[in-house]
């Protein structure tokens, strides 16, 4: 009995790697510390009532943000481990298998569990407030989205200590990832984790499309909407049409692995290239899903900090929409070398270059907005300028890769690695950080320290170029991606060593950011006005952080940049409080069911990972029961009485 248990445990837990043992200890200690703190300060009830069951978009946004930053840390540590291994030739810091696992989790986590929740955090925090709405269209579904993402991410991250991490690359191409060549639960963790969080992503896409189309304040025509909301709309359209392709690709691979089908095997009539095709039908739009909101953030930030209307609003809207449509017509550029006909490659190559046109329009519009504006050099505008520069060059190397003959030379080399990191870090992460600094006071009611933030900025930015510029050269010198070591006489040593220095500088930048947040929680400048940046859109017309109901009276919108226009006319929402009587406000009820349902999804997923069918069945049964209970629910909303709204506005000094 004891022997069997021992054997089970040695397969179930990941063993034999000192770094993982250290992580095991760290995980246990941190979990104990969290449990102890919550118990000691009697916070369990608070956690459940205020956060786990919440359907408030502002709180869901904060939970997304915390998850995204944690995942940025995990993905970043993966990156540093890889760069440490590659700093010098012939190192044995990581073995080949461990290296495979780390580049797989780094890629998957950064795109799906860092970038996605980061954009969802900013969607949740900014969109309803910018539209003058009291919540998103489906608050309950919003909570489900978050918890599905959370448990999907948890399942994926668990593979690190239980069962073993996936090792097939973040695209996990078959036939390598089919059962005969990739046994063990790692790949299953990837499939199930992505599948579960993907449900949440699609739901968020639907939720925000409906919110934007249906919940705008009276008078806010679509063409008077803030550009961030336009970018969210564009991004959500891409989400709902692209994610199903991923769902299907993963599902078919899962059927191959679990039920012995042959969709993507080399035998039995399967075609592994179809997976690659389906994956990129989602995969390329996916990068637009994460970059479009960053474009929206930049449009808000440059207008606010230049104290000008955005240059070329209509062309900004048009370019967002064009990008979201054309992003569907470029996917095959991820496999130019697969052997498709010249016609296919030419079409997708040209389509990829066409994307550069609307993107160029946006870049020029941002620059023209700053031109002759009074640009205030704060952290959001720092990151904005860094993003414009970095992303423009990343885009240009992208145009190079879109040219099929060049792609034949540099595909799968470090040139490609440098290119997509420049667009995803230099574009998405820089843009999202601009948004984070911009909306932070609205989320938490205090500003982040500028001085520490600038240290973080310079370390991260210089580190970025030191890390990735040598990688372009390494690509030309023939270094391919995913090699875990290289010989000393390859001539790659100095470039690789430089790149590693840059990676560590970015790590230092991240530490400065953490210090900045911790310092500012205690000493940061408090935002008492609700409008710390002299903003232009409606989210700055309410206190920071916004009250539960957002707007005591829904404002009427007449112009673009509604709040700026109101300020020019000497109006404010406080006047509305005096002019109009308070009315009861209809709000959705909190519910623990989204959490419980997603927990059942997690249980089902965990069971399926190990092919424990009984556990999968229990989990899915739980999901079904929670769904039936929800459909029987009759009282899912309440009214905040008028007197309470009045009291709360008075307490905020607004009545």
């Amino acid at each position: 009995m004891l022997d069997r248990l021992k054997e089970f445990a040695s397969n179930f837990f990941v063993t034999g790697e000192p770094m993982i043992y250290m992580s095991d200890v760290a995980i246990v200690l941190v979990s104990l510390a969290i449990i102890f703190t919550l118990t000691y300060f009697k916070k369990w009830k608070w956690l459940w009532r205020e956060w786990i069951t919440t359907v408030d978009h502002k709180r869901i946004g904060i939970m997304y943000l915390i998850s995204a930053l944690l995942m940025l840390f995990r993905g970043g540590v993966d990156a540093l481990l890889m760069r440490t291994q590659l700093a010098l030739p012939n190192q044995h810091f990581l073995d080949a298998q461990h290296y495979n696992e780390i580049f797989t989790t780094h890629g998957t986590i950064m795109i799906l569990f860092m970038a996605m929740p980061f954009i969802f955090a900013l969607f949740n925090i900014a969109v309803p407030l910018q539209l003058g709405a009291r919540d998103v269209a489906f608050p309950y579904l919003n909570a489900i989205s978050f918890w599905m993402f959370f448990f999907g991410a948890l399942l994926f991250n668990l593979s690190f200590v239980i069962g073993g991490s996936p090792d097939g690359g973040w695209m996990s191409y078959p036939p390598l990832t089919e059962l005969p060549t990739d046994p063990g639960p790692g790949e299953n963790f990837y499939l199930l984790g992505l599948q579960i969080s993907g449900i949440g992503s699609i739901a968020t896409g639907i939720n925000f499309i409906v919110t934007i189309l249906k919940m705008r304040a009276p008078g806010m025509k679509l063409m008077k909407m803030p550009l961030f909301c336009w970018s969210v709309l564009a991004s959500c359209i891409v989400i709902i049409f692209a994610f199903p392709a991923l769902t299907i690709a993963l599902l078919l691979l899962m059927i191959d692995r679990m039920a012995g089908a042959h969709f993507f095997t080399m035998t039995g009539g399967g075609n592994p290239m179809m997976y690659i095709n389906l994956f990129w039908v989602w995969g390329h739009p996916e990068v637009y899903i994460v970059i479009l909101p960053a474009f929206g953030i930049l449009s808000e930030v440059v207008a606010t900090f230049s104290r000008k209307k955005i240059f070329g609003y209509a062309s900004m809207v048009a370019s967002l929409m064009v990008i979201s449509i054309v992003s569907y017509l470029v996917w095959a550029h991820h496999y130019f070398v697969m052997g498709a006909s010249a016609g296919v490659n030419s079409f997708f190559g040209v389509a990829s270059m066409i994307i550069g046109i609307p993107t160029g329009v946006k870049i020029f519009n941002w620059i023209f907005t700053m031109f002759r504006g009074r640009v205030r050099m704060t952290l959001p505008i720092y990151w904005t300028m860094a993003m414009i520069t970095c992303f423009a060059f990343g885009g240009m190397t992208g145009i190079m890769l879109a040219a099929v003959p060049i792609d034949y030379q540099v595909h799968n080399s470090y040139f490609l690695i440098a290119h997509f990191h420049q667009t995803l870090i230099g574009g998405v992460v820089f843009g999202l950080l601009a948004g984070l600094y911009y909306w932070w006071p609205k989320m938490f009611g205090f500003k982040l320290n500028e001085r520490l933030g600038k240290w973080a900025f310079w370390f991260f930015n210089i580190g970025f170029y030191v890390c990735f510029m040598p990688q372009y050269a390494l690509g030309f010198m023939g270094m391919t991606r995913r090699v875990y070591t290289y010989p000393a006489d390859a001539g790659w040593t100095s470039m690789n060593f430089t790149s590693t220095i840059g990676a560590y500088m970015m790590g230092v930048g991240f530490i400065f950011m953490v210090v900045q947040i911790l310092y500012s929680i205690k000493y940061g400048e408090r935002d008492l006005t609700g409008d710390p940046w002299d903003g232009r859109t409606l989210e700055w017309s309410v206190p920071s952080p916004a009250p539960e109901y957002n707007f005591a009276h829904i404002p009427e919108v007449e112009e673009r940049d509604a709040w700026w226009e109101m300020k020019q006319k000497g109006q404010s929402l406080v006047q509305l409080n005096h002019q109009k009587p308070f009315e009861p406000i209809h709000m959705p009820n909190n519910s623990g069911r989204p959490f419980i349902m997603s927990l059942f999804f997690f249980i089902a997923g965990f069971g399926l990972v190990f092919n424990w069918w009984w556990m999968g069945a229990v989990g899915l049964l739980g999901v079904a029961v929670t769904m039936v209970l929800r459909s029987q629910e009759r009282h899912d909303s309440h009214y905040i009485p008028a007197e309470e709204v009045q009291r709360s506005e008075a307490a905020l000094g607004r009545f």
């Binding site: 919940m215 049409f241 095709n277 449509i325 017509l329 095959a332 959705p588 009759r634």
Partner: protein, 106 residues
């Protein structure tokens, strides 16, 4: 003040339309699976019939679950549907086009 997000206190009723739609979509799915497993027709014929079943499946989903005949602002519906049709054609047509390289002399 009343937001469109929350259900009122309606009495429960049997959703006949949804049940019929559910059954139809199951029948269409299993018909396709059965055809694939039965091996009674030529490959081209099976593909052709499955394609027709897929189009019918889309119609069933749109009619029974997406309520695309109940319009309150037809503009949204038409734009949304047009984008969806465009993407479906691009993805399916594009995939078939990109995956036909096996039949070509390179």
């Amino acid at each position: 003040m009343s937001q469109p997000t929350m259900n009122g206190n309606k009495a429960p009723h049997v959703p006949m339309k949804n049940l019929v739609g559910f059954l139809l979509s199951l029948i269409l799915t299993f018909a396709a699976l059965g055809l694939g497993l039965a091996h009674v027709m030529s490959f081209g014929m099976v593909m052709f019939i499955i394609l027709i079943l897929a189009v019918l499946q889309i119609v069933v989903q749109l009619y029974f679950f997406m309520h695309f005949t109940e319009s309150d602002g037809p503009r949204y519906h038409i734009i949304g549907l047009a984008i969806a049709v465009f993407f479906v054609i691009c993805i399916i047509g594009g995939s078939i086009w990109a995956m036909t390289f096996n039949s070509q002399a390179l």
